[in-house]
């Protein structure tokens, strides 16, 4: 066996062992709590235990944040068992406990620690102090300097607002094209009796099958200004449709912007190129989702609509779209979040951040933070992005949420016209 693979395997085994130990400890800990939560001294003992644990961690050199976490976790568990659970759902809680503790340790703690770091100046210059004392100095007098820094204008003319605007544009353009083209192709593939549908589907799914890294690298070479396919194609096409009038070469396609570009050094061209690549990569996901949903719509609904005289567009608007909504909305939401946080495509298209002008929030965060190892700043930046994403998700969920039955106000006019069956059903799609 290669010398260099052995340590990796050992490390994996070690990690697996640690994970098993953690789960075992969590299981055991919750079992003990379950057995003793009804004792009188349970709560005071747990509070004392929490405080001692925190003091121990602090004395051992841990930061206030870690010590605080160690103090509060046992107390919170005790409070939950004592006042909330009160013997109800104990079995469920008992089963969930290891996972809950796992989430607390592997997700909640890092999140809280990152929040703590966002107020501290942990960077290359304070790193050695952090190793030795376990703490980094506050970022500014109130600890808010990292957050101010995120919103500060930069010498290059880039600013948070510019990058945020570009990110929103990037997300919108990509999601609109993903959904639009994905749905369009799915509708084409859903044509009854189409020959060679399997072949078309396989070809159209190819961008999804090719590893993203390879696909982007190939696209990047295609966009090269001198030797890339895109510019060569534009040149040849322009030559084909060009003509001369009075010794002057006329290239009509250039009037609509069909001309060679410096795809990497021109920021707007670079952004366009990145959008093209990401749209190409993302269409199959939406297409497959839409196709699945389309195939699940019963034919009888369309037949009924046809009998009622509904035309193609009307059928699409009143049957297909409403019935696709339960699939398209979560898929678009997921797509929007993935696109918003898509580091790979921009990072690779900008040649690992070498070319400027196409950065979105995550790539900007990566570049701003890790080129100089500014961990505190990176934490603050991440929390700002996190807050934006939370807000956007909430907004989208609100806007696209279906109204509950009780929220639908009776509409006297339409009710009189509706068939008796439609009034007793909730499906908006049943109204054609």
């Amino acid at each position: 066996m290669n010398l260099s693979t052995m340590p990796a395997i050992l490390e994996l085994l070690k990690l697996g062992g640690i994970l098993l130990l953690l789960l075992g400890a969590a299981f055991g800990y919750m079992l003990i709590n379950y057995k003793v939560w009804s004792f009188k001294l349970y709560l005071p003992i747990k509070i004392l235990f929490g405080i001692s644990l925190g003091v121990f961690f602090r004395a051992a050199g841990a930061s206030w944040m870690t010590a605080g976490f160690a103090t509060t976790l046992p107390i919170l568990v005790a409070l939950y068992f004592r006042y909330r659970l009160k013997g109800r759902y104990v079995a469920a809680a008992y089963f969930l406990a290891p996972a809950a503790l796992g989430i607390a340790l592997l997700f909640l703690y890092p999140l809280l620690y990152e929040f703590y770091l966002s107020f501290h100046d942990l960077s290359l210059k304070t790193f050695s102090g952090w190793i030795q004392q376990g703490e980094a100095p506050l970022a500014g007098p109130l600890g808010l300097d990292n957050y101010f820094e995120v919103f500060r204008d930069r010498a290059t003319g880039q600013s948070f607002v510019v990058v945020l605007g570009r990110t929103i544009l990037w997300t919108l353009v990509n999601v609109v094209f993903h959904v639009g083209l994905g749905l369009g192709l799915a509708l084409c593939l859903n044509t009854p009796g189409m020959r060679g549908m399997g072949i078309y589907r396989a070809i159209l799914t190819l961008p999804w099958v090719i590893p993203q890294l390879i696909a982007v690298l190939v696209w990047r070479s295609d966009f090269n200004e001198s030797v890339g396919f895109i510019n060569q194609f534009i040149n040849v096409t322009n030559q084909l449709v060009s003509f001369e009038i009075g010794g002057r070469l006329i290239e009509p396609l250039t009037w609509v912007g069909f001309q060679t570009r410096s795809w990497f050094t021109d920021p707007s061209a670079l952004f366009t190129a990145a959008c093209i690549v990401n749209i190409w990569l993302g269409i199959p996901f939406m297409m497959i989702n839409s196709l699945g949903a389309l195939q699940s719509i019963p034919k009888s609904v369309y037949e009924a609509a046809a009998i009622d005289g509904a035309r193609t567009l009307s059928r699409f608007r009143h049957i297909t779209l409403p019935l696709l909504k339960p699939v398209l909305v979560p898929a678009s939401l997921l797509g929007a979040i993935w696109t918003f946080n898509n580091l790979n495509v921009i990072y690779l298209m900008t040649d690992q951040g070498r070319y400027e002008g196409a950065d979105i929030l995550v790539t900007d965060l990566y570049k701003q933070s890790f080129t100089y190892y500014r961990y505190g700043f990176a934490a603050a930046y991440s929390f700002v992005i996190f807050a934006i994403l939370c807000f956007l998700t909430w907004l989208q969920l609100r806007l696209t949420a279906d109204k509950k039955p009780e929220e639908i106000k009776p509409q006297p006019k339409s009710r009189t016209k509706e068939a008796p069956l439609a009034s007793s059903t909730n499906l908006s799609s049943s109204r054609i």
Binding site: N2, L3, S4, M6, P7, A8, S123, L124, K125, F127, S128, G129, W130, I131, Q132, R154, A155, T156, G157, S221, N224, E225, S226, V227, S262, W263, F264, T265, D266, P267, D351, R354, Y355, E356, F370, T371, Y372, Y373, R374, F377
Partner: protein, 424 residues
């Protein structure tokens, strides 16, 4: 087993176990980021070392460049991580500033090495990395079928390149990664400039200077006035243009030597970068190499074993293989003088090209200089800004980046101070 036999047996067992514990080899972890063929060669060196030092076990682990930096920094928090970590010289600034490596001054005799090699990791008078080889410098490549005499000056280069260039046929006189400052800095040196001014602990990024303006104007002119460069070209594009015979001259690093020698054979021409006609000074690329750094928390037996292993890597035996097997310029003077190294034509040509090269500053501030220059070069080449505007933007960007990395005066931590003891 009879009871009277039990005690002697137990004693014998404990004695044997104790012996085994005593004889357990000292383990040293070695993380590297080299290409696979270098990794395979390193394994051979380790095998020979372990044969003569059975009480030391060297565990090699490969990581990608950036992953290695991040992982090493992260694991240093717990006093964990490799005892030895390899990497280019500019990593020294990051690690030394973060206080995760220790100086290696006492671990070898300084007069064994080429002084340039040692300068490449010297910060505040301390040497932070042991050089394994020199290199990563830029070379002028050409095809002997197309070029009779390699250009000695930039004027000569431009003349030959202009005669060859035919944009419609996709033929260019010169191809290199023109928007990357690592290439641009060779021009800057030729115009007498430098991106960093180091004065003891006072380090400044110097982008907004007359020399920088002249060098940048020269580069822009090569593209827009002389028209010998493609409109845009990165490493891959330049490489393919050169190998397909569509670029007369090509500037790239010594890392391409083996590939080009294999593809072009005797047709491959190698020359130092030409002299800038205007100044009479040679274009000087940055010189780097591969260095070995020692974890700040490596102490005691592990440190002794580490020192022994580093000394072995500096031995003539290993350094000769660096040249003959890896095609890299060895770091020690003794190995360079060896006949097997001197008779290697490609390596000699590379060493000649390296003669004009300047050691890449190891200071962490160089990162800010690279970023500032990258923005400057891109904006000037794309025509987004004039040369005068671009140097100012570059300077501002670098100064801004410096705020995040430079030490607050008077607060510099003692990097040799006590670190958490590393678990052996």
């Amino acid at each position: 087993m009879k009871r009277n036999n039990l005690i002697p047996s137990a004693l014998a067992f404990f004695a044997l176990t104790a012996g085994a514990v005593q004889a357990a080899p000292v383990k040293i972890n070695f993380w590297e980021q080299s290409p696979p063929e270098t990794g395979a060669e390193i394994d051979k060196w380790i095998a020979v070392f372990q044969k003569s030092n059975p009480n030391i076990q060297v565990i090699r682990q490969h990581y990608e460049n950036e992953e290695l930096r991040t992982k090493f920094l992260r694991s240093s928090v717990t006093g964990d991580g490799a005892d030895i970590v390899s990497g280019p010289n500019d990593i020294a600034g990051v690690f030394a500033t973060a206080g995760v490596i220790q100086p290696v001054d006492g671990m070898f005799k300084a007069d064994m090495f080429n002084s340039k090699s040692l300068d490449m990791t010297r910060i505040d008078g301390k040497t932070w990395g042991l050089p394994l080889n020199e290199g990563n410098h830029l070379i002028l490549y050409y095809n002997k079928d197309l070029v009779k005499n390699p250009p000695a000056t930039t004027k000569d280069l431009i003349d030959q390149a202009k005669a060859f260039t035919n944009e419609k046929q996709n033929k260019y006189g010169l191809a290199f990664f023109q928007s990357e400052p690592f290439w641009f800095v060779s021009f800057l040196h030729g115009f007498g400039g430098s991106p960093l001014q180091v004065n003891g602990k006072d380090v400044k990024v110097t982008i907004d200077t007359p020399e920088m303006q002249k060098a940048l104007q020269f580069l822009v002119d090569l593209k827009d006035k002389e028209k010998i460069l493609p409109k845009e070209c990165n490493v891959d594009c330049a490489k393919s243009l050169f190998l397909s015979g569509n670029a007369l001259f090509h500037i790239s690093g010594d890392w391409e030597l083996s590939t080009y020698a294999e593809k072009l054979g005797d047709k491959l021409g190698i020359a130092p970068l030409p002299v800038i006609t205007e100044t009479g000074k040679p274009m000087a690329p940055m010189l780097g190499g591969l260095f070995l750094y020692v974890n700040a928390s490596t102490k005691g037996k592990e440190l002794d074993a580490t020192r022994k292993f580093l000394q072995y890597l500096s031995s003539k035996q290993v350094q000769q293989r660096v040249a003959t097997k890896l095609n890299k310029i060895p770091a020690t003077i003794e190995a360079r003088a060896d006949a097997s190294v001197k008779n290697n034509a490609i390596l000699n040509a590379s060493a000649q090209a390296a003669a004009n090269a300047r050691p890449m500053p190891p200071q962490v501030e160089m990162r800010a200089a690279w970023d500032g220059m990258r923005i400057m070069v891109q904006r000037a080449l794309s025509g987004k800004e004039t040369v005068a505007q671009a140097v100012k933007t570059g300077q501002r960007a670098a100064d801004e980046a410096l705020k995040g990395i430079q030490q607050t005066p008077g607060k510099k931590p003692d990097t040799s101070a006590a670190m958490p003891a590393k678990a052996g």
